[in-house]
Symmetry: C2
Subunit: 189 residues, 2 copies
DNA sequence: GTCTATAGGTGGATAGAC
DNA sequence: GTCTATCCACCTATAGAC
């Protein structure tokens, strides 16, 4: 029962994959139009300008992230296992030698609107809050072992995965990401 | 005894700081020209096209990196102290809420020339080889304490600093970088 | 080595027909 | 909602004077 997507959603899907590949300043409406099979004017109908498109991209990405971690929370009890699934989430884009939208947007940040910047900060905050909660709970329950504040651990965990994406991309070598991700997990046991 | 820089070097200086701010696809020759105080045609004289400029940027950055770590090696014996200085190196751009050139280039990678891509991989390889050497030596000498391969530790260390740059930039909060960097160091003691 | 002038292309964006 | 047609700003790059 695959839902037929409307144009706006198709545009966002295509735009996201392009941004994750070439960055927000590396593509044009023409690139999206060609892939979606429409004209650039049609994109402007749904997203009047590139700012609107950027804001829509990040807010949709945030929503999808929330549902992804919610799914992890409902399907998994063990905190270590939750973190492992989180690393799989971040490893997804790496298979195509891309980075997650957040990482890409964070480097393009200086050229984007204030609203997009806020959206990015909110996305990363959501990441960090979830990680901190899992870290804290995991330690209390004895699944995780680390020293210092859970907040610091959360930052380190997220930063490592982001950097791991960049390294895998730079070397075109997925194993670099996996190596770092596995090291992160094993350091917590 | 400040050496008077020639135009080519002034162009590279300006270009690098701009790229570290807005990325390789976020600026034009006009931006550089205005800051340097010349015309775009003069830039084309020194760097015929943007590819040439990108390649020159990354190779100069590589050379500067080598001299920076050479300086660390000659001034410092203690491996832990070497790593601390390495984190300061990566913390430099963060003060202006920028990322190092390597991180910026790595996200823009898909739109750049093969030579630039190779240059980036070589830069990161130099980073990793130095880190691995310091990690290995530090453990043998008793200054550092970690489990597993030094190569994996090197990857984790570098990835963390790269991600830390992104987080500091995204939140416009230098302390996020410092927190992660200090955590990295303290985890090795 | 740097300039003016300009070519040739592409970018984002809009007007108006259908 | 999507199209054609088009505008204008900006981009990279080159030619040729100085």
């Amino acid at each position: 029962m695959t839902k037929i997507k409307n144009t706006a959603e198709a545009i966002l899907d295509t735009a996201q994959s392009i941004v994750q590949d070439v960055g927000f300043n590396g593509f044009s409406y023409a690139h999206i139009a060609e892939k979606v099979g429409i004209r650039t004017a049609s994109i402007h109908y749904h997203f009047p300008n590139k700012e609107d498109l950027g804001e829509a991209l990040i807010s949709r990405y945030h929503r999808n992230f929330i549902s992804a971690i919610t799914q992890i929370d409902t399907q998994t009890q063990n905190s270590l296992e939750k973190l492992r699934k989180f690393t799989l989430l971040y490893g997804g884009p790496v298979q195509d030698y891309c980075t997650c939208l957040g990482v890409m947007i964070s480097t393009d940040l200086a050229t984007l609107s204030g609203k997009t910047r806020e959206g990015l900060a909110q996305l990363f905050s959501a990441n960090l809050e979830w990680l901190e909660r899992v870290m804290d709970q995991g330690r209390r329950e004895g699944y995780l072992n680390f020293e210092g504040a859970a907040n610091v651990q959360a930052h380190q965990f997220l930063a490592s995965l982001q950097g791991a994406q960049l390294l895998a991309r730079s070397f075109r070598d997925v194993s670099r990401f996996n190596m770092i991700a596995e090291g992160l997990i094993s350091a917590l046991t």
